[in-house]
Point group: C2
Chain length 151, copies 2
């Protein structure tokens, strides 16, 4: 078993821990930097009553806390399921450099999850503009703050 | 000022609180159910060293905690910036029924944020399949758990 398969096996083990405890779906994730595991986590949507508590999200939050930075450049993530749009977005914001997943959207749809549906979602009509002018004033205000960031 | 504009003004106020405290970008969000504010929050990526700590995410987590459920059906979200793919994904998982945003992706790009870039991101090559067979075994195991959910 090479290192990549090993890290995936740890993600699967995490997921198993989650499902036997009824914490949520069969999704575990492991974040690795320089071949060292920084964080491992599993889906806790049911346990935490938190729709954002996916395996990847929890692993990113743990890794950021551990490394004391919101920038996970140089990290790789191993996850049992192809990341949903929420998790892929989080992975991009965190500057993670690569994703290895086991089962794909079609597989995950077969066990009842909506990842595929959401990846094809058309947000027209669902997402509506309101008071743009007032928010542009806010953006201008932010633009004038010297210590501003863009993360 | 009608109710929608009022809720957006609360989201803007939240965002202002965040930027004056240097917690992160100019993004505030408010979750409303039956015309009552359930949760308000702002971006805390810098404050919390957490790349997932966007205004919408924080508001969803607060609302879920308050209502003691991962299912925010019947809730509406008001947010200063058009939700990034991560936040839109979270909004969908939470079953929120409508999104009102102030500034759009182009506006947010003008102040340096990558929401637009991520919304157009092509994950080919970035996201790679590994050990699918082993994860399918895990999925099968989950499928046999009586109390399983799909959130």
């Amino acid at each position: 078993m090479d290192k990549q398969n090993y890290f995936m096996s740890v993600a699967i083990k995490e997921a198993k821990k989650g499902i036997t405890s009824l914490h949520g779906g069969p999704f575990g994730a492991v974040i690795v930097k320089d071949n060292i595991i920084i964080a491992r986590a599993h889906n806790c949507v049911v346990k935490n009553n938190d729709p954002t508590s996916h395996g990847e999200m929890n692993a990113i939050r743990k890794a950021s806390k551990k490394l004391k930075t919101f920038d996970l450049s140089g990290c790789v993530i191993y996850t049992t399921g192809e990341p949903c749009p929420m998790c892929l977005g989080a992975i991009l914001w965190a500057n993670i450099s690569k994703v290895y997943y086991g089962a794909n959207y079609n597989d995950t749809e077969m066990i009842g999850f909506r990842d595929k549906k959401f990846s094809e979602f058309d947000s027209k009509d669902f997402v509506v503009e309101l008071d743009r002018d007032k928010v542009l004033e806010l953006y201008n205000e932010y633009n004038n703050i010297k210590e501003r960031t863009s993360y």
